[in-house]
Amino acid sequence: MDMEFSPEDLAFQKEVREFIAENYPAELRDKQDEGEEMSKEDFLAWHKILYKKGWIAPAWPVEYGGTGWTPTQRFIWSEETARADCIRLMPFGLAMVGPVIYTFGTPEQKAHFLPRILSGEDWWCQGYSEPGSGSDLASLRTAAVKDGDDYIVNGQKTWTTLAQHADWGFFLVRTDKEAKQQEGISFLLIDMKSPGITVRPIITLGGEHEVNEVWLEDVRVPQSQRVYEENKGWTCAKFLLAHERTGIAGVAASKRGIEKVKAIARTELDGDEPLIANAFFKRKLAELEIDLTALEFTELRSLAGPNAGRGPGPESSLLKIKGSEIQQRLTELTLEAVGHYGAPYFRGFGESDNEHPIGPDYAHRAAPTYFNMRKTTIYGGSNEIQRNIIAKMVLGL
């Protein structure tokens, strides 16, 4: 065993660091520093730079446009992008539907969709959850009925993240009502501009428009846009969820988050001393950092261990549970650190965009982020469901 970076890894780290320093857009950095909301164009700006460089899909096989990086190089990559506060890449195409298409798709589907995902030409959204199903995903009711070469799709999806920007969506739909729950489901790729699709915003506690309801009314979808066999969509769904869970461990971002909390706690005063000298606060910070280290090494083991390359298995549930809990504790500690300035609502009524928000810069988004991040133990299969998965699949209970 060896946890040191090799000379090649160190050279790679240097290359990545320099590339980010030279190519990360300054106007994006300014907007982030001001705490401004990011537009679709902002998200795509960094995507396109990485696409040009050939670094947009480190996790993909080389034949489909991946980088061929080793697990260690991928680890370095996520560390460096988090360290530099790079804007997150939308996971829907790159981390979710892309791997499903190159694993289960037809040659035509691969040829058409994969290059467009890499280039950022298509913005994807995910049509999994429904009102009344959620973590009991297999109870979904959106139905697709055959009509000649097409399906006619009817139903309602919810929690559809950033669907307001989407060109395409990947949907789980019921194609056999008689079959056992998991067996009558198919995986469809649907053009979001199809007649019959309505996207309605859901505003969350921090005031953000991040998620939506998607209504499908007699939406016509060619059968050629079904991935994998009819009624076998659950296979794609499980594959995708396991991938999603690894991504949301968020180790590199949480490490960066801890650095930010420390900076706040060094600035905020508690009596004569900075907050970071407060024994209680320090204890919580230390515990969080230690727990994050434990998560990091667990993730490294799963990336570089004997099962590496076989795809994420049920142990990804562990990464999801611990990763999401740590993300939440981090936002909680940040809110605690900012004290009174957690209370002002960061989007004042009737204030012009030019006016500076209330309190220190690091305080503006502390409360909305804390509220927003309660989602992490709920989405991607709630943490209760993840514990069920471990109990059943790992412990054999």
Binding site: S129, I202, G271, H340, Y345, F349, I358, R387
Partner: protein
């Protein structure tokens, strides 16, 4: 021993609860907190004039019902249940508490105005550098003839956009963190030189940054003795602390009730999710936190009149326990509701937001654990 309420106290609770049920349903609240002013002034007027509620905690000689901290707790708990943003805490509990402690001409003049609903007082005590230290003040009041000149910056002053008066802590002497040299002033909110920047708060209220730019204030604005005001400030902040704990009890009760209700109607895997043992245990734990918050609030309220150290230890024990409980109940209410819990649409998330702000209001759990240890566990 007796933990029952008097007939009058029961009547106060019932009257208020009925009134709020009629006037303060969640949709109505959401409408007025989104309006320009952020409130419905008719509610405050009704609380004063129709219900006589603003007089519950004041002496009969001032036109009140003769109550005190327990009556405040009753009102705050009911406000908590409806997420009330009415400025009862700064006006009645804090300013009223200060005036009762000081007595004399100032109390005689001001308390009837509060009871009648004519005066709204906002409490400007926190400063950007001070965190929860009440003595850490840069705001200064300099003697100027018979009066003072006030300068400084107060942060996150809840209800200030609505206030007719401000209760302000300022330094009349001593160094920035000295216990001596702190004074308390009750001033007109419209005096020249008071600059406000108003904004909404995440829990649905309104607040301001207040900048005092050489504000001339009269000598009789001083409450209590000059430079010896810290014990008075500590006393009223302790009253305010148990009052927000009472509010938290109402908020937590609604979070718990809402969760019970939701889990009984929401089905997954073919059964109501309330049938899952893991959720049952969680709701039992939430229930225990709500009950303990109620117990601690009563304990803290009943000990407000003890000597300072005993009072402070009791209040800190109360706040530490309630803050942890509010965190647990709030987070678990959201988790149990799933995605719908983090939307603006459902009331549960708004209760969670208020619970979260109460956690830190007048000191976090850690702050109060620290104060408790210094008093009770000192060598």
């Amino acid at each position: 021993m007796d933990f029952t309420y008097t007939e009058t106290q029961d009547m106060i609770r019932d009257t208020l609860s009925r009134f709020l049920a009629d006037t303060y349903d969640f949709e109505t609240r959401q409408k007025f907190i989104a309006s320009d002013s952020g409130r419905d002034p008719a509610i405050w007027t009704a609380l004063a004039q129709e219900l006589g509620m603003l007089g519950a905690a004041f002496a009969e000689e001032h036109g009140g019902l003769g109550g005190g901290a327990l009556e405040n707790a009753i009102v705050m708990e009911e406000l908590g249940k409806v997420l009330g943003i009415e400025p009862y805490l700064p006006t009645v509990v804090i300013a009223g508490g200060a005036l009762k402690a000081v007595g004399g001409a100032q109390a005689d003049a001001m308390i009837p105005e509060i009871i009648a609903g004519n005066a709204i007082v906002s409490f400007a005590y926190a400063e950007p550098q001070g965190r929860y230290d009440l003595a850490n003040l840069k705001t200064a009041a300099k003697k100027d003839g018979a009066g003072y000149v006030l300068s400084g910056h107060k942060s996150v002053v809840y209800a200030a956009p609505w206030a007719s008066h401000l209760l302000v802590t300022a330094r009349t002497g001593g160094g920035q963190r000295d216990r001596d040299g702190v004074s308390l002033f009750l001033i007109d909110a419209k005096l020249p030189g008071i600059v406000r920047r108003d904004y909404p708060t995440v829990d649905g209220s309104r607040a301001s940054e207040i900048y005092f730019e050489n504000v001339a204030i009269p000598g009789d604005a001083l409450l209590g003795a000059e430079g010896a005001g810290l014990p008075l400030v500590e006393r009223i902040v302790d009253e305010a602390t148990v009052a927000v704990c009472a509010e938290a009890t109402g908020v937590m009760q609604k979070l718990h009730e809402g969760t019970l209700e939701y889990t009984q109607q929401r089905k997954q895997f073919g059964v109501p999710i309330a049938k899952f043992q893991v959720l049952q245990h969680r709701m039992v734990d939430m229930f225990m936190e709500v009950e303990q918050a109620r117990s601690m609030t009563i304990m803290g309220t009943l000990k407000l009149d003890l000597p300072a150290n005993e009072r402070m230890a009791a209040v800190s024990a109360c706040k530490a326990k309630v803050a942890r409980g509010a965190n647990f109940v709030g987070q678990n209410a959201i988790q149990t509701h799933g995605g719908i819990g983090i939307t603006q649409e459902l009331a549960i998330g708004h209760y969670f937001k208020r619970a979260t702000m109460i956690e830190g209001q007048f000191g976090s759990a850690d702050h109060h654990l620290g104060r408790y240890e210094r008093i009770v566990l000192a060598d």
